[in-house]
Amino acid sequence: MYAQMIKSTGQGVKSLDEMEPEERAFQERINAGGKIEPKDWMPEGYRKNLIRQIGQHAHSEIVGQLPEGNWITRAPTLERKAILLAKVQDEAGHGLYLYCAAETLGVTRDQMTRDLLSGKMKYSSIFNYPTLTWADMGAVGWLVDGAAIMNQVPLQRTSYGPYARAMVRICKEESFHQRQGFDIMMKMANGTPAQHKMAQDALNRFWYPSLMMFGPSDAESVHSAQSMAWKIKMNSNDELRQKFVDLTAPQAEYLGLTIPDDKLKFNEETGHYDFSEPDWDEFFDVLRGNGPCNTERLAARNKAWEDGRWVREGLLAHAEKKRSAKMAAE
């Protein structure tokens, strides 16, 4: 999941009896598994919450191009270069349909972009970590896309129609990304000693940041309770994190790599892996802008936007001239 710490109304979840008829009908529709569409009535809190969530997800896809783009020019074979290019292209595409989904809620892509560039809106903490070796392209696909899928698969059933439909397409592509990441990890883990070392190092660096992607425990969070009632959040952060660890731990073993957690152990009683929590102070530091790459990532996006201004203006001016010429001819 690429959305973290999304604020909801901050109030408790209302019961159906406390709601006005409009809101009650809305909530009953959600409870019955129905979809809310752009022109339907919705509470203001639902709309705002979704804009934050979908916007953060879209921004994550866009910023997420950067750590992988870092290796496109250094990909070791033509095939790996092509696969990575295709992957990053998919991510830009995901950003685009998510911005479109958010636009159905009455916000423009330009406004969301401005909010990203000013730092007002966030993107996932994970993209503030550097990609240092080729094995990181494997780890990002395997762990980061793997963690994202955990949350995105259930979101295909989310209550907001345009978001659910965008998620269906995104999930198909993400599972391909995850597989290609694992394929890189297999090559690296089973390669030369230097490659194996790169694979282990990538796992060491990306393990805890991947666990952080789910966000801190939200068992007590009023925001999460409201989002879950609205079905724009389908599972708790802890549930998804556990699911991710349960799935990933045997994969690491298969690769012959060691997850950097002494406490990681399968618990026969619970049927799940026990594991250590990530360092949440580090997580909050990253959210505050103090991750290893926050400054570079935002600077890169700001520079791209500024450098591209003349292009956007030029193309708009040309389209305007064409429109005027056509109108004059008619």
Binding site: Q65, I72, T73
Partner: protein
Amino acid sequence: MNDPLFEFCCRMGDNTLVLGHRVSEWCGVAPVIEEDIALANIALDLIGQTQLWLGLAGEVEDAGRDADALAFHRDVWDFRNLLLVEQPNGDFGQTMMRQFLFDGWHLAMLKGLMTSSHDQIAAIAEKSVKEVTYHMERSSDTVIGLGDGTEESHKRMQDALNVLWPYAGEMFVSDNVDAAMVEAGIAPDPAALRAGFEALLADVLGAATLVRPEDDFAHKGGKNGVRHSEHLGHMLTNMQWLQRAYPDATW
């Protein structure tokens, strides 16, 4: 001289490899998301075509080198790409102008190759023509849109054309490799593609309100590998680093 067929395949494959690499440098920093997607798409097509051309070059050479060995283990003097495609990206306008000039030549060359006497070359051309037709459509639309956009975009596009123009001529210079290809019915004579290119320029630059430079001086030395620009070495340093740093690894 090397086998002219090997040389020819390297020329085609090195053009797509070097330009594909340049275009891929835009990843994540294009002016709008739609351009990020389109540029990645073009780079992807070009890298795919590289696999075919350099794969065929390896077969023709029959010395145990595959497309990756040719891409990642040759040095500057063995590269056979046009000087135009190794020029740095510059601003977005310069990247699109370079693309437009190259597409104009590339599409005409590929169309000629579709009737090649060499079956594999004809097949590669047939596949590539579909992709490059789209590249051409997009690069010419962008050159027109930005040339005939704002005062600033117009100036930037004219500057881009002026900077790149001395590298356009090399595309149409024929040498003994080309003569051997023409004689074997494998490829058209590049010099014969010039007239069509001039007609394309007149159309697109006209619509873009841009002026074709008068001086036709042309830098040479890319396609025959005699004298590349300094830029190519830096690109290879980046592109080939991993393969060269870990020569016994497979990826």
